[in-house]
Amino acid sequence: MQTVYLLVPLVCLVPAIIAGLFGWKIGRVATHLLAISGVALACGLSVWVFLDVLAGNEFNGTVYAWGVTGGIPLEMGFLIDRLTATMMVVVTFVSLMVHIYTVGYMREDPGYQRFFSYIALFTFAMLMLVMSNNFLQLFFGWEAVGLVSYLLIGFWFQKESAIAANLKAFLVNRVGDLGFLLGIALVLMHFGSLDYAAVFASAPHLAGQNVELFAGHGWDLMTVITILLFIGAMGKSAQVPLHVWLPDSMEGPTPISALIHAATMVTAGIYMVARMSPLFELSEVTLNVVMVIGSLTAFFMALVGLVQTDIKRVVAYSTLSQLGYMTVALGASAYSAAIFHLATHAFFKALLFLAAGSVIIALHHQQDMRKMGGLRRAMPWTWLTAWIGTLALVGIPPFAGFFSKDAIIEAVQLSQLGASGIALVAVTAGVFVTSLYSFRLLFLVFHGRTRMDEKTRDHAQESPWVVTLPLVLLAIPSVIVGFLYLEPMVFGNFFGEAIQVAPAHDVLGRLAEEYHGKRGSDLLLAFLWHGVQGLPFLFAVAGLIVAWFLYLEKPDLPGVIHKRLGFFSRILEHKYGFDEFNRFVFAGGARRLGGLLWKIGDVRIIDGGLVNGSARLVGWVSAAVRQVQSGFVYHYAFAMIIGLFVLLTLFLKL
């Protein structure tokens, strides 16, 4: 079985290398066949591993010892448990869909082979991240997916905006990664190990210990560590205020938005926190922080989605908001619910992105929703799957999103942490906003009167099968995973030892008690019935109705509202001014500080004084001493005699 574990990432890495180095030689068809078969194999093997793990065969061990430094072993190891296996299946499946889709989407792009090389490499890196059994490899995978993300956002590197976007993603992630790295360093410092099992085993003994960051101020060690790790998660999973890079990342090709910036990479932070649950459980402060950050992201980013006109950006803000939901679940200690939502979201959000991409190619890279409309007839498959994705996202039963989102809301309701009040308001209200922007998108794109020019309308047609097939294949789990896995994931102890929850925080356990004694379809029905009566469902339906009224019945009304609420819409259009703030304070500040250091520190002190100064001094001494070498033999003899006398006077003890 160990060979299989090793094979899963390797079958992705090999095509990545071949496509990257020899893609120009082996041609397009060979490249995509190679990459797709590699990822398909990885997907098949992942399913096998998943089934094997369900049968009870878990694994935790070192595969390859890279070296030992300072007594710390640097190792490549795998930890294969249910959490890992779930992630592996989600990652490889979505990746496979995106690989297939890419064949159609990137058909005319000159960077075809490069693209396949990157996405295969991404799959490899993401697998290394989720399969890791130690912090070092986790960090390796973390940085590697970040690298590929950077490369892919700037895939169209002739585009000014793409370069700016990938630079932004890079810089913002640096902030998160610094926190993450500091967290890992603290773990290493206090636990003396980077191995998950060892760290988690000794974590309870270190709980309550203080650490002095500044002289005289004691901080709870676990809080410091987990906050730092969570800062890493905030960067990668785009939580406020480190979310600014994600909307801009839409400059990359659409398959990338689906794979990396919706389904997998951005959920790495969620996965990491769930994996670190034994540490996070030890600090209520951190859990509160996590919940607050999550609720801010969930609600306020959803609001921004309302005013976006670019189809991909709407979906991007929706992703931000959904990541906020997952984070809230983490804060409420409902780790299983977070992972459950992660999985369902991966399917339906990838579906929505790919559907958006399908629309974009049909309209020849037109992304403005104001210039779409009525595409339902031209693109039936895209339309149908987009509906399924939207219903899943909004949380209409029995689609997948309903179960996972409702589980989160229920969990927050039961949480007794201080921040749960705000969180509950945010996630519940968020449902209405989500529903509103989702149906707005759906109605603006596929329904109503068409607003395209004639030429585009005549050319608009359904995408080729390589594009629609992934849509259909993604639509299936978007419908079914919800009710299939609700019971084991949320109510059953599906993840076993992988996720540890302190009894005081065990919201899902309390939730299970409410449905005490119900199993199978009874449980499902009870959950459904409870959900349909609840506020979130009403909000979702209300969102649908309002969207229908505003965008189909009275299409002129949104413009009027927009004008009346000018102040608010301006805030939303400026996305609360995060970009402006960063540009002025951080970018501007850094530039001013840099300019200062450059002019005074670098040019004057280092270059002028130290570098050139010392060089000039040496040169001056050199030229001066050179003059002593006069060429006269009596000078030379004189020097020797002087030397003799110096030796005599200095060293002779009379």
């Binding site: 050199s622 001493v625 060429g631 033999v633 000078h635 030397g643 030796l647 005599l648 002779l652 009379l654």
Partner: protein, 487 residues
Amino acid sequence: MNLLTQSYPDLVPAVPELFVLTMACIILLLDLVLSVRWRNASFLLTLYTLLGASLLTLQDIGEAGRYTFNGMFVDDLLSDVLKVGTYLLVACVLVYSRRYMLERKLFRGEYFVLVLFGVLGMMVLASASHMLTLYMGLELMALSLYTLVALQRDSRTAIEAAMKYFVLGALASGMLLYGISMLYGVTGTLDIAGVAAGVRAKGVDNLTLGFAVVFVIVGIGFKLGAVPFHMWVPDVYEGAPTSVTLYIATAPKLAAFAIIMRLLVGGLVDMAGMWQDMLILLAVVSIALGNVVAISQSNIKRMLAYSTIAHMGFLLLGIIANSENGFGSAMFYALVYSFMSLGAFGVILLLSDQGFEADKLEDFRGLNRRSRWLALLMLILMFSMAGIPPTAGFFAKMAVIQAVIEAGQVWLAVVAVLFAVVGAYYYLRVVKLMYFDDPDQQRDITAGWDARLLLAGNALALVLVLPWIGALLDLCAAAIRAIPALP
């Protein structure tokens, strides 16, 4: 002492010397008879002489020290290793110089004979266990070198250099002799082992002994070219024909090391407390001045002359450590340095041709475009001289610095390393000129295949020796143990 009752001396330990002497005389005579067209015969004969001498030397290598001529001459591991090194260096010198000397009409019998007499002097020096032998070897070597510098009679600079070398050499020689005479006065013997015993008996506070040590140090300092006895080095290096510079810059360094070992360590080890302090001064000033002044040179021969001064300072570091390890690393440094110097001057020789000396730094501009291979070899040589790993030059520097640190002189190591950094500048400048500048001229490089091949081996050996560095250091340490006075 009655000559008749004196037993005939054991000649076996001195067989290589006798062989070289005989061959030098034969070549001298042959050259009178042979016509110009047969010049190559003398050349080959000289090479065969060196080959034969090395076979004779290697024959009893590793055996315990064997004394002869009433204890005036010794054949031990130290002398054997230094002699073999000398043969190898001189053979390379001859091969590198052949075309250069031919083009300047210096490819004559005198050249070979003088080279061989110089070798003979070095051999005697290396085997000296008596101060008269030592002085004889020294003078034989020095006189040959003076004459070699003046070999190009019609060159004003060469004559001037020879004159300077001779006058200053005589001065230094006189001082050394003065020191030796004082040693004789104090101890009543010229035998080096006897001197060591006498010093021990008299005690280190003896004033005359102190004077003697100072004068001996001056003599040694001159041979090494340590500041302030270095003034001859740049002028002679620059003025002499490059082939002679090549000779002076290589084998005599081993001879100078031999003097240190035989006289200073073999005879005056009890005075170490005194000469260590003097050598520290000499070493620091040499390293500093050599490296700093080399920067402002525009003539590469002159630049390498200052580099020699700095390198000799490094060699002294090993001596200063005054331990078996230290002496061993100094010997390793001397060997490695002489081979680096051999390669560097070899490149200059290969680049020069009829009427063109290639001794300006500008002549190295864009060498990479003219000959990638030569530029690469020069790069290795410069890296090795600067002490950049993984070249032998790095390990040599590391060994002496390690020895100094073991001796507790950390500040000395720090100073040495700092000036080595300054020194890296002018070595790397050569590399920069070769690789990043445009060539000034498109002269073809006309060197022969034999010299090219040997030079390649020479330069590459500085890198390829890597696996055997430990073995070489062990060999040097073993050679050092041959000195009887060491504890």
